[in-house]
């Protein structure tokens, strides 16, 4: 009869945690892959307008980013509430755009320079005057390929 007299305790056996590392690694890899690293810390408000006639900016290393918009609330005391340009990690003046483009060009291989694109990430509330000034600087320095970075969506949303 001892055959049937096993443990009589009712508590459940411990669940094996041997696979926990696997799950953790899986999550880790997933987030590693899915995360986009931000190159710049934004110091401005950057709510992009939406558009539907868009092209993808594929080659990340060939894109130079120029941000513009109103300084975010944290920087408002020091930078004012007028729309500003942000290059790399600091506020900049329109006159600094040229130097920025030249520095970016210098850091790229020579044969890639003609393919460089300037992505304008401009907040929807910005006045066109500032954007026009940036475009004028870009024209002067022959950085003619630009991309108005937008969100995907209907252009009609922009007017509300």
């Amino acid at each position: 009869m001892s055959k049937f007299k096993k443990k009589k305790s009712g508590d459940l056996p411990a669940i094996s945690t041997a696979s926990l590392p696997d799950i953790v690694f899986m999550l880790l890899f997933f987030f590693m892959v899915a995360t986009v690293m931000r190159q710049n810390t934004l110091m401005i408000e950057n709510k992009l307008p939406s558009a539907d006639q868009i092209e993808k900016l594929d080659k990340k290393d060939l894109v130079m980013y120029i941000y513009a918009g109103k300084p975010s609330s944290r920087y408002r005391a020091s930078a004012g509430s007028e729309a500003r340009i942000q290059l790399n990690d600091k506020f900049a003046d329109v006159s600094e755009v040229k130097a920025f483009i030249l520095a970016e060009r210098a850091s790229k291989r020579e044969e890639l320079v003609p393919f460089l694109t300037t992505a304008l990430k401009v907040d929807g509330e910005t006045n066109m005057g500032l954007v026009g000034d940036i475009k004028k600087e870009l024209r002067d320095i022959q950085a003619l390929k630009i991309n108005y970075t937008t969100r995907t969506g209907s252009a009609m949303d922009n007017l509300n």
């Binding site: 696997d22 558009a51 900016l57 594929d58 929807g124 006045n127 995907t152």
Partner: protein
């Protein structure tokens, strides 16, 4: 009656399941890329160059004033009608003789554009104009060109212009890329994007 303890679950295959999931996510996730409207700026101009003389009827003036109101040929217009109006202007084909447009399906109004290759859209904005309104207008104008190009590409090559451009970028495209490039160029030349932007008014 003694309760039987549950047998331990074999966890040996858990790792396999984990890896399966991992590979699934690896394959299906795409890193988010930025996208936007690509444009080319005109090269800087020399001071004493005379602007080319254009017939008034070949210019389609789109203006955004400082209150973000849209004026097309000096008449107020809703944004949603802009695309249609731009298509109508570009596709008009009112030219005669050498300037005639063989593929246009417009109304051939003699007071509108002669030929898509002659038609220029002039976009003017104020310094106070909102950037988002400007993008909306840009978007509609680009859409007008794309619609017309799609139509012609469909007629000539049996696929839309957007599709052709997509195939050109596709690494796995099986057809001849050189001839595809030629075809794209042909369609682009039929409806060249002539979008002129004036310096914003003060």
């Amino acid at each position: 009656m003694a309760r039987r303890s549950a047998p331990e679950v074999n966890a040996g295959s858990m790792a396999d399941i984990a890896f399966l999931l991992l590979i699934f996510f690896l394959v299906t996730t795409t890193i988010e890329t930025d996208s936007g409207i690509s444009r080319k700026l005109p090269p800087p101009q020399e001071e004493n160059i005379e602007p080319p003389i254009l017939k008034q009827k070949n210019i389609f003036v789109v203006e955004l004033n400082k209150n973000n109101d849209l004026l097309v040929e000096e008449v107020p217009m809703e944004l949603k009608d802009l695309r249609e109006a731009a298509i109508k202007f570009l596709d008009n084909g009112g030219g005669q003789g050498v300037e005639a447009c063989t593929f246009c399906q417009g109304v051939k109004d003699p007071s509108s554009s002669d030929n898509p290759t002659k038609a220029v859209i002039s976009l003017r904005n104020n310094r106070e104009t909102n950037y988002s309104a400007y993008i909306a207008v840009q978007n509609e104008l680009v859409a007008a060109y794309t619609t017309l190009r799609n139509r012609e590409a469909n007629r000539l090559f049996g696929k839309s212009f957007v599709q052709m451009e997509k195939e050109l970028k596709d690494v796995n495209y099986s057809g001849n890329k050189e001839s595809l490039k030629e075809d794209i160029k042909k369609v682009q030349l039929m409806f060249p994007e002539k979008l002129s932007e004036a310096e914003p008014k003060k």
